[in-house]
Amino acid sequence: MRKDNLNYSVMPLSESFSWALSCPVSLYVHIPFCVQKCPYCAFYSVVPKTGDIESYLNLLDNELKMWTSLTGGKIHAQTLYIGGGTPTVLSSKHWEQLILTLERYVNFLPLLEASVEANPGTLSLGHIKLWRSWRITRASLGVQSLDDAELSWLKRPHGAYEAADAIAALVASGLDTSVDLMFGFPGQTIRSWHRTIKDCLKFGIRHLSIYELTLEENTPWGENPPEGLTEGYPLYRFAQWYLPKRGFIQYEIASFSLPRHWCRHNIAYWQGGNFLGIGPSAWGYLNGYRYGNASDIKLYADSISRGEFPIVYEEILPNEKAAAESAMLALRTMWGVSARAFRRKWGWQAYKKFLQVWHLLPEDCKKTIQGKHAFSAKGFRVANSLWEQFL
C-alpha cells in the first residue's frame, strides 16, 4: 500500500473523496516547527530557519487548494485542530497568513470547535488576541509538569512559572483551556504528580490530557533510553481517582474534562468521523480510506510543487478489520461501542464477532449500559491488553 507519489488526477478514489469532502469533516493542520526537539517526541518537526515558515505556509495553501479542486468547492469544517510541532513558533504575522489560507479554502460551520496547540515559552499575548479575534475556541497547552526539576529532566524549553503564566493567560482570555501533562518519568512521585494536577486545576482549566512518557522509535530516548523510568500505572490510577472528585469526567483513555468540554475534534478520531489532515506527517481518513502524508518537509515540498499529493501511505481495511479497528477506537471513549450503530455500520457478523471477544474480557474491565459496551476505569488501565483481543 505504500506509494511514494500518488497523482491525484488519476486517483481512483477521487469520487468517494469528493462525496466525503462535500460533507462536514474535521480538519487537522500540522505545523512542523519547534524551537528545539524534545528527546521523547516522535511528532514530525524541525527547527525553522529564516524563510522556512513563509514557504511552508505557501505549500499548505497549495495542498488545501489541491483538495478543494477535487470537490470543486470549499471544505466544510466542523472542527479544526492546529497542532504540531509548536504552532506558537509562528509569529502573529505568520498566523495572519495561515488564517487567510484557511479562510480561502474552508467553510467553517457554526458551532465550530477550533483548537490550537500552544507551548509555554513561545505563547504570547499577541497569539491569544489574534486567536480570540478569529475563530479559535480552544487551546491545548503543552505543560507536561509544573515542577522545575521534572521539566528540566524532560529537557523542556520552559520552566514551571512560564507554564503557570501561560495557563493563567489562556484561561483569562476565555479560551476553553486544556493542559497536557506527562507521567512516568524518573523522580516523579505521586506527591509531585498530585501537586502538578492540583495546581493546573487551580487556574480554572476545563480539560486535561495525560500521557505516559513513551519511548518511541526514532527519537533520542527511543534509541538511548534514560534510566529509572517510574512505573506509570499508579500515577495514572491516581489521576483516575483524583480528577473525578474535582468534577472531571474521564471521557477518553487519556482525556479528562468538565462535562461537555470534551474535545470534539479528538472524538471524531475515535468515532470514525471523516477528517482531513494537511501538512507533513498529517493523517486523514475519508469514508474508509486512510492516508498519511510524508514525514519530511523536503519530500512534502517536492510533491506539492509538482502538483501531487504528498501521500506516502494509504490503506482501505477490509470490512472485518475495519470493524475491529472501529471497535478498538470507540472503546477509547466512555461512550464505547453502541450495539445499534455498530451493527448498522458493520453488519451482524461483525457485531457477533465483537461480542465473542467482549465476553472473553474480565468482568471488572468492562460495562454494558443501555446497549453501549465500554471499558470501566480498570479497563482503561489495561486497555492495551484488552484491545489486543480484538486484533
Binding site: H30, F43, G83, Y233, W283, V382, L386, L391
Partner: protein, 599 residues
C-alpha cells in the same frame, strides 16, 4: 574351514580400534593404501567424527601367513558403546576371537572391561594389544599389569603395537592366525546362520550380515527367519572385500551377506537365525533377544511444515535401525512430533544428529525420560512412557523404574566427589576397588532416570574428564515415585507434570513453578501456579496481575501507529497457548522440556 579366522576388535572409545583395523586392511592389501581413507570401516561421517562405530561393517581379508598358507580373516567390527551392547554381543557370537585394544597411556577403561567380559562370556580367544606405545605418555608395563590384575587375562602374550606408526601389525596378524581357533561347524548339517546385523539398501532391500554356523546357503534357496518366522528366497550371497562381491555360496564358518528381498528391517533382526525353509534346523542359535527401548524423548520439527519430512526421515532411519521405535505425539508448545524410544542416550543423540544432518531437519529434542512399570491394584502391569500415562494414584499399587549398574573408572582423588554425585542421584553403593594406588573402580546401582539427565556431564566436570563409565541395565526395581502435577489457575497442564522420587518432589516442584512464574507474563488477573501430588498441593506461586499500560499521544490522528504497536504486541503473544484463561508462552513449555533440573 581350517584357514578361516573370524575375529573382532574390542576397545574403549579412542583407544585406536579403527586405526588398527585400517592397518590390517592395508597390510593384507585388501585396500590399496592410496584408496585408503582414514578409518575405513566407519562409513558414516558421524561415526568418524565421534570416533565411535555405530554400524558394523564386516570385512574379508586374505593374508599369507609366515607358515606359507593363505588365510581368510573376517573382521567383524563392533560398536563401542554400551547402548549397543546387544549388537556387540551378537557380533561377538559370530567370532572365535577378539583383539582387545588398550591404550598404552590411558590403560584399562570402563568399556574395555565390559567388552572383555562379554568376549569371555562368548568363549572367545582374547589377544590383548597395547596400542599407541609410541606416545610419550605410554606406560606399557603398567597397562600389562592392569590387564593381568583388573581383567584377569594372561598378559605375557600381549602385543605391543602402534597402529598409527604401523608397529606390531604383523605380530597381530600372526597372532590372529596362530591363536584364534578356526571356526567349528558342519557344512553338511542343516543351515544355521546367525544374523549379526542388517542394513537397508534403497535398491536391494534388507542386506543381512551373517555368520554361517552350520550348513550352506546359496542363491535360489528358500530360507526361514526363525524368530520372525518369515520365508524368503535368496537372491544373492557374497563376501565383503570390503565392498560386496557376490559368491556362489556361503558355508559353515564363513562370514558374508544374504540378500533375500526382505522389505523391512525388523523382519531380519540381529540375533535371529536363518535356516532352510524346506529342511529347517531343530532350534535357532541361542542369544536372540527382542531389544526394548529404555530411553524416550519427543522429537518436534522447529518448522511445523516439516512434520511430514520428519515422519519420512524417521521411517527411513528405522529401516536401518530396528531398535528405533516411534509414535506420533502432540505437544502444546511444539505442535506435532514423535515420541521415540532408544536403546540409550548415545543412540538418541546419534539419531537426532542424523535427522539433522542427513535429512536436514531442524528439530527440538525434549529432555529424555525412561519407561516406568506400574503395577495396578488389580495386579496388572502397565508401562508408562510419560507422566500422562500414569493412572490415578489410587489405582497404583507399586511403581518400578529401570536401574543400571554403573561402573566408573577414575583417579582416586575424585572418588569422594563421584560417590557424592551417585548418592545425590539416589545411587546404591555396590563396590569400590583400587586397581592401582591411583585408579579406582567404583560401582553403583543407579536409577536410569537419574543417569540420563546430565549425569555424565556432571561426572566429567567433577573429575576433569578423567572418569570413564560403563553401565548395564539391571532391570526394574520398586521405587518410591510420585507424579507431580502442575496446575495453572486451577487447570492441570500435562506438559508440566513430571515423575520423581518422593523425597525430591518438593524441591523439584518448587524449582518448576518458580521458573514458570518467571516465564508466564502478567495477566489481567492474579494467576496461581500450583504443584500437587494427587489432590495435595505441595507448592504454590502467584503471578501478580498486569499493571503495565502505556497511554500515548495520538499522533496527528495516526491511529495506525497504535494499531501497529498492538499488532506487534499481539504477535509476541500469538505464540502463546491459552490454558483456561491464562496465556502461557511457548518458552515456558520449551524451558521445561529442555532442562527441568536447573534452578
Amino acid at each position: 574351514m581350517n584357514n578361516i579366522r573370524n575375529f573382532c576388535i574390542i576397545a574403549h572409545v579412542d583407544h585406536g580400534k579403527s586405526t588398527l583395523a585400517d592397518r590390517l586392511l592395508e597390510h593384507t592389501n585388501t585396500i590399496e593404501s592410496r584408496k585408503m581413507r582414514q578409518q575405513f570401516l566407519d562409513t558414516m561421517d558421524l561415526e568418524r567424527e565421534r570416533g565411535i562405530t555405530i554400524k558394523l561393517v564386516p570385512v574379508r581379508m586374505k593374508y599369507k601367513a609366515k607358515d606359507g598358507n593363505e588365510y581368510v580373516l573376517n573382521l567383524i567390527d563392533t560398536p563401542g558403546h554400551v547402548d549397543f551392547s546387544y549388537e556387540v554381543s551378537r557380533s561377538l557370537a559370530a567370532c572365535e576371537g577378539a583383539l582387545l585394544v588398550v591404550d598404552a597411556a590411558q590403560g584399562v577403561e570402563a568399556q574395555t572391561l565390559a567388552n572383555a567380559y562379554l568376549a569371555v562370556e562368548q568363549g572367545l580367544e582374547i589377544i590383548p594389544v597395547i596400542n599407541k606405545i609410541d606416545l610419550p605418555g605410554a606406560r606399557p608395563e603398567e597397562v600389562l599389569r592392569q590387564i593381568e590384575e583388573v581383567i584377569g587375562l594372561d598378559s605375557s602374550q600381549a602385543i605391543l603395537a602402534s597402529a598409527k606408526e604401523g608397529i606390531g601389525i604383523i605380530e597381530v596378524l600372526e597372532a590372529i592366525v596362530n591363536r584364534i581357533p578356526p571356526p567349528s561347524g558342519d557344512p553338511n548339517a542343516k543351515l544355521q546362520a546367525l544374523i549379526f546385523d542388517s542394513v537397508y539398501d534403497n535398491y536391494r532391500g534388507v542386506i543381512s550380515y551373517v555368520r554361517l554356523v552350520n550348513g550352506r546357503i546359496k542363491k535360489g534357496q528358500l530360507i526361514l527367519f526363525m524368530a520372525t518366522e518369515r520365508e524368503y528366497e535368496v537372491e544373492e550371497v557374497g563376501f565383503f572385500t570390503p565392498s560386496m562381491s557376490a559368491a556362489n555360496e556361503l558355508k559353515a564358518g564363513e562370514v558374508g551377506y544374504v540378500i533375500a528381498n526382505v522389505k523391512a528391517i525388523w523382519e531380519a533382526r540381529a540375533g535371529d537365525t536363518i535356516t532352510d525353509a524346506i529342511s529347517p534346523a531343530d532350534k535357532p542359535l541361542p542369544g536372540y533377544k527382542r531389544i526394548k527401548p529404555v530411553v524416550f524423548c519427543g522429537l518436534f520439527p522447529i518448522d511445523r511444515d516439516d512434520f511430514p519430512h520428519l515422519r519420512e526421515a524417521i521411517e527411513k532411519l528405522q529401516l536401518n535401525d530396528s531398535s528405533l521405535v516411534f509414535e506420533p505425539e502432540t505437544s502444546e508448545a511444539l505442535g506435532f512430533g514423535f515420541r521415540c524410544g532408544f536403546l540409550g542416550l548415545l543412540h538418541m543423540d546419534i539419531t537426532v544428529e542424523r535427522l539433522r544432518r542427513e535429512f536436514e531437519i531442524d528439530l527440538v529434542a525434549t529432555a529424555p525420560n525412561v519407561a516406568y512399570e506400574i503395577v495396578l491394584s488389580d495386579g496388572s502391569v502397565i508401562e508408562a512412557h510419560k507422566p500422562s500415562d500414569f493412572p490415578d494414584p489410587g489405582k497404583i499399587e507399586e511403581i518400578r523404574e529401570p536401574y543400571i549398574r554403573l561402573t566408573i573408572f577414575l583417579p582416586a582423588d575424585y572418588v569422594g566427589k563421584a560417590m557424592k554425585l551417585c548418592q545425590d542421584r539416589r545411587g546404591e553403593y555396590v563396590s569400590l576397588d583400587y586397581i592401582t594406588t591411583e585408579r579406582v573402580r567404583l560401582v553403583y546401582d543407579l536409577p536410569l532416570a537419574e543417569f540420563i539427565v546430565d549425569f555424565h556431564d556432571r561426572l566429567k566436570s567433577l573429575t576433569r574428564g578423567y572418569a570413564s563409565i560403563d553401565y548395564e541395565h539391571v532391570g526394574y526395581r520398586k521405587s518410591d515415585l510420585v507424579k507431580v502435577d502442575v496446575l495453572i489457575h486451577g487447570e492441570p497442564v500435562d506438559a508440566f507434570s513430571f515423575i520423581c522420587h518422593k523425597d525430591d518432589a518438593y524441591k523439584r516442584a518448587l524449582s518448576v513453578i518458580k521458573k514458570l512464574k518467571e516465564l508466564i507474563p502478567r495477566q489481567l488477573f492474579e494467576v496461581a501456579i500450583q504443584a500437587s501430588i494427587g489432590s495435595r498441593v505441595i507448592a504454590r506461586e502467584n503471578v501478580k496481575p498486569l499493571r503495565k499500560n502505556v497511554i500515548a499521544k495520538c499522533y496527528g490522528g495516526d491511529v495506525t501507529r497504535k494499531r501497529k504497536l498492538l499488532e506487534k504486541q499481539k504477535e509476541g503473544k500469538e505464540k502463546m497457548k491459552m490454558i483456561g484463561k491464562v496465556q502461557v508462552p511457548q518458552e515456558a513449555f520449551l524451558a521445561f522440556l529442555k532442562a527441568d533440573e536447573e534452578g
